[in-house]
Amino acid sequence: MAISLDINGKTVSVEAAEDTPLLWVVRDSLGLTGTKYGCGVAQCGACTVHADGQPIRACSTPVGAMAGVKITTIEGLGGAHPVQQAWAKLDVPQCGYCQSGQIMSAVALLAETRTPSDEDIDAAMAGNICRCGAYQRVRAAIKEAAGIAQALPATATPEVSQ
């Protein structure tokens, strides 16, 4: 059936069964492949997108439930979002596959909590797995984007001892 979606500020119509996970509509029908598949069961966070500003797992959200909801994917952040800039500045990504989801969770966190504590970051980001283990830089980049520069660990830059 035809389903109307509000995605990244545009209204689009897609042909899909209502039980199709939003993830596959976003990726296969709309070609927005920045949102990734990692587990299919809302355990890893690689598919995180925003529904009316709230982070959701697109792999476990049926597209039929998205009527009238403003959906934002990584592509919808525009590329120059302060969180994306912080990610690039600190070279957060390694393989990078989870990073769209990490960034979407981080953006949602900062929209709610402008200067998050470490506990806030743990709570907001624990649903996003990074197998490369870039967690330290994810944390640092969230603080960078929040302007908590003094909280940046000195260890983001290694020291070649003299």
Partner: protein, 734 residues
């Protein structure tokens, strides 16, 4: 790993050469002429049929008319950050403007893009920077010389008077200057020098500096980086495969009536590894596969449980394995039996199967038309993937085109002798035919159930201490499954992937009497290297044992190690230990207890001091890790730090939670709900310190991983807790 892959590649090339006299020569004669395959080099054999040609500045450098420099990476980027370091090697000697250097992935060609440690094209063994160290600097220096000569010709001055900086070629005497853009057309016509001189390391302005940063962070932060799962083509089909529930089982029958009714399903057919469903999109393929039923012939399947396998391994180590067990010595010194007095230490250690669990499950895109195949995916060993594909489409290996994309992690999983998921995709694309692109997508469950795990391992250690408390004799038995026997080329005399790290240990060097042996029983579970390979268990056994020995001898574990390193002449071990101790400072953070470990792998030595507390649920939680690394010349210090940070998380995840169990041969952990991995709230803060060195670079992708486990176990010892003799530390709730 590099060394082992070299053996493999050599034998593979031999197979190609032999094959040329039979089947391949028919196709090969058309493409390359039949005679080339006789007496040719490995690179020639594996690249036979390739249409890939180097550019005017060689295979590694392209320079656009606007002067922008593109470095062609022969190594895949799947997180290690090697593209930054590889590009820096070129840019340093080329004196290019680093801000205008890009990196692209090389096509598949074993001759142009061989890993010099393997002799075939491939990434692994933390070898990207080490094997490219001289090669890429020479490439950069050669291109620089072409620009200098072009400017000298144009300005009629001596080349020796010309300098290059940040892509600007200058002649101080005449005040003339020109950019790469202005000179590139002329430079392209200059004959490249045979052996261009390299800079004195003291003159480096880029290598070893914080300026060497990743080139892909923007693309990986805005969703534009293309991974295999992202490949888009107008007529692309998506495939999924129903696999057997047990390793070694074969398809008996299947019923596709319901699957074919699913909207979007195009075809359902048998392939060697199961039943393939080909559909218009991923969801249709998934639904179609769910609707399939199949029966399996299981007479040759592995039906044992991991518990039973571990019991068997323990029995073998204890000498109760029966007559068929074959022991292979890997270190023999003195006479262990002659040492009968002194305090006796005994311990056994059990290590579970480990899944790589890359964020991007295995996948591949293939197009097959007649004898031609073109693949797009995260190819870690293109030469092997070409060879395995060539066998299916009956072509020369070099004729198989591979476009290597970013991969969402590998940790060894994509370096597979059988090219398992690649071959599966090629079979499907061959059946579809016509060059139609087919994207094989594995779900997380497919990926976890497919095997190629870090093998199950058991170690048994007996040490007698001398009167000073140091090891006088060391008896060591390792029982595991051979990774190399998983190759189609047979088992080498000693499968070093099973013992590296014990083999070469400074502790064994410092022990007068050593009897270390390895047994490799056959198990029908596919196994593979997993980030740091043998060191994943040997580092744990050696480092945790040494802490227990120090405590038994009543000595400080750090002083105990220093004494043994002195004895073994292990200077780099001493250097990293000293640096880590110095940087860690005198005391741990309040509430935390420290443990230390030191291990050498892939040409680098790493020391880690981990500060550990016990979190609610009785789980170890690591706060701060001070890591010191000796990796020779530090090409990209920030990426070395990133690899230490990430490698520690990967190792920590495994020793805390990592475990794949089999029940009657069936994998029990199939997704992140049952296979726990490290998350943000459990990740430590890592400080990285690099020992300054002008030695050639060692690896950095793997050496950080195996050290954290024993460091944590040793912290638990320091808390007065028992030794960790079975992993993972945190067992899943039954």
């Amino acid at each position: 790993m590099t060394r082992h892959l070299r053996n493999l590649a050599e034998q593979a090339a031999g197979a190609v050469r032999q094959g040329a006299s039979r089947r391949e020569v028919v196709v090969g004669a058309v493409a390359v002429g039949g005679s080339l395959m006789v007496g040719c080099s490995m690179g020639d054999a594996l690249s036979a049929g390739s249409k890939v040609k180097p550019g005017v500045f060689g295979p590694f450098i392209q320079i656009d008319p606007d002067g922008a420099v593109t470095v062609v990476s022969k190594h895949i980027e799947f997180g290690q950050g090697n593209h930054a370091g590889l590009a820096a090697l070129v840019a340093e000697e080329l004196d290019a403007d680093w801000s205008r250097v890009k990196v692209v992935q090389a096509p598949a060609n074993a001759k142009l893009y061989a890993n010099l440690g393997m002799g075939a094209q491939g990434t692994g063994g933390s070898s990207a920077i080490p094997n490219s160290w001289e090669q890429l600097r020479k490439a950069g220096a050669g291109a620089r010389a072409m620009f200098v000569q072009a400017a000298a010709n144009r300005w009629q001055v001596a080349p020796g008077e010309i300098t290059v900086k940040d892509g600007l070629v200058s002649h101080a005497g005449s005040g003339k200057a020109a950019t790469f853009a202005e000179l590139v057309a002329d430079a392209a016509k200059v004959t490249p020098p045979e052996d261009p001189p390299l800079k004195d390391p003291k003159a480096f302005t880029l290598i070893g500096t914080q300026r060497v940063r990743r080139k892909d962070s923007v693309a990986k932060s805005n969703g534009s980086a293309v991974y295999t799962i992202d490949v888009k083509e107008p007529d692309l089909l998506t495939a999924m495969v129903l696999h057997a529930p047990r390793f070694g089982a074969e398809l008996d029958s299947f019923d596709d009536a319901e699957a074919r009714k699913v909207a979007g399903v195009r075809d359902v057919f048998k392939i060697p590894t199961g039943v393939a469903v080909v559909a218009d999109n991923t969801w249709a393929a998934m639904k179609g596969r769910e609707a399939l039923t199949a029966t399996w012939k299981e007479d040759k399947a592995e039906k044992r449980s991991s518990d039973a396998l571990l019991t068997q391994f323990r029995d073998i180590a204890a000498g109760k394995g029966g007559d068929e067990v074959k022991w292979t010595p890997f270190v023999t010194q003195g006479d262990v039996a002659s040492v009968t007095d002194g305090e006796l230490f005994e311990a056994t250690y059990d290590f579970p199967y480990l899944a790589h669990a890359t964020m991007e499950p295995m996948n591949c895109v293939a197009r097959v038309k007649g004898n031609n195949a073109r693949l797009s995916f995260g190819s870690q060993i293109p030469s092997i993937d070409q060879l395995n594909t060539a066998k299916i489409v009956a072509n020369l290996p070099g004729a198989i085109e591979i476009e290597t994309l970013f991969a969402g992690g590998s940790f060894g999983r994509r370096a597979n002798f059988q090219s398992d998921y690649v071959v599966e995709c090629v079979h499907i694309a061959k059946k579809v035919g016509g060059g139609t692109p087919v994207k094989l997508v594995w779900t997380r469950e497919d990926d976890m159930r497919a095997g190629y795990f870090r093998p199950l391992v058991h170690h048994a250690v007996q040490v007698r201490l001398d009167k000073d408390g140091f090891p006088a004799s060391w008896r060591h038995r390792v029982v595991t499954q051979s990774i190399m026997k998983g190759s189609p080329m047979g088992t080498p005399k000693i499968d070093e992937t099973a013992v590296e790290g014990a083999l070469g240990s400074p502790y064994l060097k410092a022990t007068p009497n050593v009897d270390a042996q390895l047994a490799l029983p056959d198990v029908g579970v596919p196994v593979l290297w997993w980030r740091s390979v043998g060191a994943t268990h040997t580092a744990f056994v050696m480092e945790h044992t040494i802490d227990q020995l120090a405590r038994k001898a009543g000595k400080d574990p750090i002083a105990y190690r220093r004494a043994l390193y002195q004895k073994a002449g292990a200077k780099r071990h001493l250097a990293v230990l000293d640096l880590a101790v110095e940087k860690a400072g005198p005391t741990a953070a309040a509430g935390y207890t420290r443990g230390v470990a030191v291990h050498e792998s892939f040409g680098s030595v790493v020391a880690q001091i981990a500060e550990v507390r016990i979190a609610p649920g009785n789980e170890p939680r690591v706060g701060r890790v001070v890591t010191a690394v000796h990796c020779g010349t530090a090409v990209a210090p920030d990426q070395i730090a990133a690899q230490m940070e990430g490698g520690i998380c990967y190792g920590l995840s495994a020793i805390l939670f990592g475990e794949v169990t089999l029940k009657d041969g069936v994998v029990q952990e199939t997704n992140f709900d049952t296979h726990r991995v490290l998350r943000m709230n459990e990740a430590p803060t890592v400080e990285t310190y690099i020992v300054p060195s002008n030695d050639p670079p060692g690896g950095v992708g793997e050496p950080g991983t195996p050290v954290i486990g024993p460091a944590v176990a040793n912290a638990l010892l320091a808390m007065g807790r028992p030794a960790t003799l079975s992993l993972p530390m945190v067992k899943a709730q039954a």
